[in-house]
Every structure is written in C-alpha cells, then in structure tokens.
C-alpha cells in the first residue's frame, strides 16, 4: 500500500535526476528545518555537481566541450570539494553523500593529476630527446649487452671454424644455406630477389622481430639472465652464418646483405636487451632504494627505450623487406647500413642533450 504511494514518486525523482543532468533545485522551503550537515551539503551541492559534470566530460575525452570558465574553475571547484569533504567526514553521518563525495574526489583527482600533456605532446618530447636520454640513461646495460652480442658472434664463428658440424647445431633446418652448399647457391641467396609482396614481407618481418625484441625485454624481469642467454644464442647464429659465407669467399657480400637492415635491427635488439638487463639489474641489485621503487624507475626508463625499439624495427622491416630486395649491390647495401648506423648513433648520442626537462 505504502509502496504505491512512494514508488512512482521515487521513480520519477530518479529519472529526473538521471536524464536532466542539471542540478535539481534543492528544496529550499525546508532548508531551515533540515539537519545541519544536510544544510552544509545543500549549500555546496551546486558546485559539487558542476565539478561532477566537468570530470565526466574529461573522462569521456570531450575536452573541447568544456568552456574556458569550466577549465579555469576546475581547480577551484576541486579545492572546494576537498575542503567540503574534509568537513563532511568530521560532521556528517549521511553515508550516501559521503560515499558520493569520496568517489567524486577520487575521480577529480585522477583528472587533475592525470597526464598533464596530451599523447601527441608526449610523443613530441619523446622524439626531441626523451628517447635518446632514456637510451643514454641505461648506457651501462647497453655496453654489457653489446659485449655479449660481440662475444656471441665471435664464439659462433669460432665454434664453426673449429668444427663445421657446429653450424648445423647453431643454425638448424636450413635447406640451402648449409655447409654443403656451393658458392653459386650461396651467392644466389644474397642477390636473388624474393620477388613479390615486398610490403607484406616487410610487415611480417617487423611484427616477428618486434615480438622477439619485446620478449627479450620481458625476460629481463627474471633478473636479466634469460635476456643474456637469448642475446648470446642469437648472435651465435649470426657468427655461424657469417662464417658459412666467409668460407666460400662471400664475407663482404654477406655483411652487406646483413648490414642494410642489420645495423638498425641489431641496434634495436641491442637496445631491447640492454633495457631488459636494466630492469633485471634493478630488481637484483636495487641499491639504496626499495626493490619496488628501483624496479619502477628502471621499468619506466626501459619502456621509453622499448617504444623506440619498436619504431626502429619498423624501419628495419622496411629496409629488409623492400630495401634489400631492390638494392642488389653490395657497396650500396653497405652504404645504406653505414648511414643508418651513423644516424642512430648520432641521434642517441646527441639528441636532447640541452633541453633536459620533460618526457
């Protein structure tokens, strides 16, 4: 019986509140008689609701729908909410209002302390020096990774030079590029174009290499050891591969074939390995800070490097998939590879030296 009396009215109030989106007029007729804490709320509710509207827009990414006044007043409204919430916590026992205020304060806090720059702004900072600064920040790990990669290559070569049977162990499952191949066959593998679908080939190479690079980084989480193993194993293959061609007097051609994209790709893998090592090292040896702090600082630095690694692998994919198939001349290949290597080294060494600052 009583439900019939209150039900429709409650429903109507609920609907009004949900769809109007505006401030329902506080029942000012009874304002003198309501509880003190409710009066406190009724006097501030308009501002709170306005902040709620602004925050909701920001959450939806509709920054442009905010007026200038809204943007200017948001910090003021937020501060009012903060002080209102502090008072309400000490004076009000209205659980629903308190919970709403807590929730709104949190949402507003996320927006006010959210990303201060847009994503494109962040990317701008990334290219203008943020990336190269992050690379320089982990230079010790990169040198370690480089030493391992060089050692891996040398070991791969020397194992094969010592006993050619090692080649099949290091580079298994090759039909043409094996120890019984003739010089002509090997020469063909370097200069016969794969033909069509070069763009798709490049895209495939990119996605494969990027996955390997991300894995190489992720394994760094396990104190960095698996990253090191992966680096040594892969460069061991590289050493064996170069040895095979050098046997038949094709060493320079082979290096040209590798270097056109390899200077970029191997550089990217070097950075990924260094980034993984950096994270692993920060967890194993956090130094004066707690493991959590140390890991977080290292992870954020490494993340910037890794974003760059993925971009480098896009370039490497294009150079390998398209460039190597169309440029069939060893000198030109070496030239392109050398130019890329110079470019990357120069960029990492010099970019963002002066600015400092953000990103």
């Amino acid at each position: 019986m009583s439900e019939a009396a209150t039900g429709p009215r409650r429903l109507w109030n609920g609907l009004k509140e949900r769809f109007s989106g505006t401030v329902p007029p506080p029942p000012d007729a009874g304002i003198a008689q309501v509880l003190r804490s409710d009066r406190f709320r009724l006097l501030r509710e308009g501002d709170w609701r306005r902040l709620d509207t602004i925050v909701t827009r920001l959450e939806k990414g509709q920054v442009r729908r905010l007026s200038d006044e809204d943007v200017l007043e948001m910090p003021v409204l937020y501060r009012q909410l903060v002080s209102g919430l502090s008072v309400a916590r000490e004076t009000s026992l209205d659980a629903a209002t308190l919970q709403w205020l807590e929730a709104l304060a949190q949402r507003a806090w996320f927006q006010i302390h959210g990303p201060q720059i847009t994503l494109s702004g962040w990317l701008g900072g990334f290219f203008r020096g943020g990336w190269s600064r992050a690379v320089r920040a982990i230079h010790i790990d990169i040198w370690i990774a480089l030493a391992l990669m060089v050692a891996g290559t040398v070991v791969g070569w020397m194992l094969c030079a010592h006993d050619p049977a090692w080649y099949d162990t290091l580079v298994p499952g090759e039909f043409i590029r094996n120890t019984s191949a003739t010089r002509e066959q090997l020469h063909d593998t370097l200069f016969k174009s794969e033909g069509e679908m070069l763009g798709a080939f490049a895209a495939y190479l990119f996605s494969h290499n990027a996955q390997v690079a991300i894995l190489c980084f992720a394994l760094g989480f396990a104190m960095g050891l698996p990253t090191l193993m992966l680096l040594v194993q892969n460069t061991g293959q590289l050493g064996a591969f170069v040895w095979l061609y050098a046997q038949k007097g094709l060493m320079v051609e082979c290096i040209g074939w590798l270097s056109i994209h390899g200077t970029t790709e191997l550089f990217a893998i070097l950075l990924a390995g260094g980034a993984g090592l950096h994270v692993g090292r920060s967890i194993a040896f956090p130094g004066a800070r707690s493991v959590l702090e140390s890991a977080a600082a290292a992870g954020q630095r490494a993340a910037v490097v890794m974003l760059g690694v993925v971009l480098m692998l896009v370039v490497a994919g294009l150079l390998e998939g398209i460039g190597r198939q169309t440029v069939n001349d060893t000198v030109a290949r070496l030239l392109i590879g050398g130019v890329m290597l110079t470019f990357w080294t120069g960029y990492f060494a010099l970019a963002g030296r002066r600015g400092g600052g953000a990103a």
């Binding site: 009874g30 309501v34 509880l35 509710e45 659980a95 807590e102 798709a200």
Partner: protein
Amino acid sequence: MSGPRSTAAARRQYQTRRARRERQVVTPEGLTLTFTLATRGARVAALLLDVFLVFLVLIGFAIAVGTIANFLDVSKSPVLRELQEVFLILLFAGLFLLRYGWLLWFELGPRGASPGKRMLGIRVAARGGGRLTPDMVIARNLLRDLEVVFPLAFVPALFQPDDQSPLALALGAWFAIFALFALTNRDNLRPGDLIAGTWVVETPRRRLVQTMSAATHAQSHPNQTAYAFSDEDLAVYGEFELQTLERVLRSAQQGQMEAVAQSICAKIGWNAPSGYEVQPFLDAYYTQLRARLERGLRLGQRKSDKFDAGRNA
C-alpha cells in the same frame, strides 16, 4: 530475527575483507583519499573481456576483407595482387597492434582503463598516488607475453602425460611463477605493475541521491512531528545502525521497514507502528538519531555502533 542479524554479520565481514584492500593516499592538497585495490578476480575477468573484444574486432576485419574481395570480383581484377598485399600488411600490422596496443592505447586515455577494465569498474593508477604517465602504461603492458602467453603455451603439456619432458615441465613451472606473481604480494601486483610502478584500483561510481532529511520534507509527512524521541530512546544506537537504517529507508521496501521499526520499538519500548505509519516513524527516528550523533561528532564524541558505550555520555 536471525535473518537480519546474519546479513549484518556478513556485511561486516565483507567490510573487513574490503578494508584489507584499501590503501590510503595523501594528496598534495592534504586530503587523504582511500583507494581500493581491484580484486584479482576482477582483473582476470577484465583481461578475458578484452581478449573477447579483440577477437570481435578480428572477426569484423575478416568479414570486411571477405566482403570487399567479393565486391571487387576477384577473377578479373588486375589490382588483385596489390590488394592482397595491402590486406596482408594490414593483417600483420593489425595483429601486432591488437596484441600489444589494445590495452596500451585505452590505458593511456583519461580513464586509465581498457574497455574490459571499464566494464568491471577498475582502472590503472600510479602506485602510491603519483601521476600516471605514458611510460608507466607502456612498461606495464610490455610484460604481458611473459605473464599470459608463454605460461598458457605450457598448459597443453600438462594434459599429455606421455609427452612430458622434464625440460618442458621445468619451463612451465618457471613461467607459472610469472603468471601467478600477483598472488604473491598483498598489492596484487603482476610483474608489469611492479616494473611500471602502477597498481589497479576500483573506480567508485555513484550517483548523488537526495539527502534523507530533504527527501522527508519534500514528501512532508503530516505526522512526522508527532514522533519525538527522548535522549535515552536515541542512545541505544550508533553510527553503524544509523547507516543501516539509511540503507533501509533508501531502498524503501515495506516489509524490511516494518521489521526494522519493530526491532527499534522493541528496544526502546514503544508500540510498533504499522502500515502507513512505518515510514514516517523511521524517518523521524533516523533524523533525530542522526542529529544526536552528529551533535556528538561535533563535540568529538563518536558512537560507532550499539555496543560502543564508552565515550558517549
């Protein structure tokens, strides 16, 4: 009366368990905000939802490619090879972007949550209450392969008893450490959270409801003033009971309200109201109890529940 009592007990138990997930953060304005960490279950569910959505996108892509290929009448088109290539490029790049970019892209947005997380009411936040930056979001998403894809790859091996090489088992156990890492720390951090300096918290979303006293006045019960409770009548309950009463009043179920009115009356020795009288009675009791408790609050005297007799005069 065992029903309401046991639900109250269950509610309290839930609240203490929830309190274990709460983390206090002091903002630069000096406000203490309470964040509630997301449960592990919610996070797994959010991931599954996201995977499902990614599959939906892939299916949509496949249908679109099929339709276009049909429309162009494959057999006589000279641009077929180029088209095939474009599709392949889109496929490779798209698969890569979906796998590594889906969560990343959405978590970079102002909500800090992928669609799956949003549906479950959780979001990514900087641990300890700093600013959530793009580097953090990138870092936390780079380790997903290690935590999800590789451990899952070893699951089939568990169901093939004849083909269990010790190496595969060892590797599987090793990857299981990463998959189950979040179970090992009290902040539910997975490896990605650990190296990014993030955690996942609940996003409370509430609508502001009318104040109880304002609602009472809007409905203007004629006989509300008829109920005047003495100090002793109000002294039997504390804040916990007040908030329970608030919930009962807001949900406005007649049977529940009658039961509550009866137990109040039994306690203070009144004759229980019935029918139309129940709600005005409860409204009046709620308002006066709250006025009394809030008065105590202003004087620094809290009464947390009915068992709390100490500091309340």
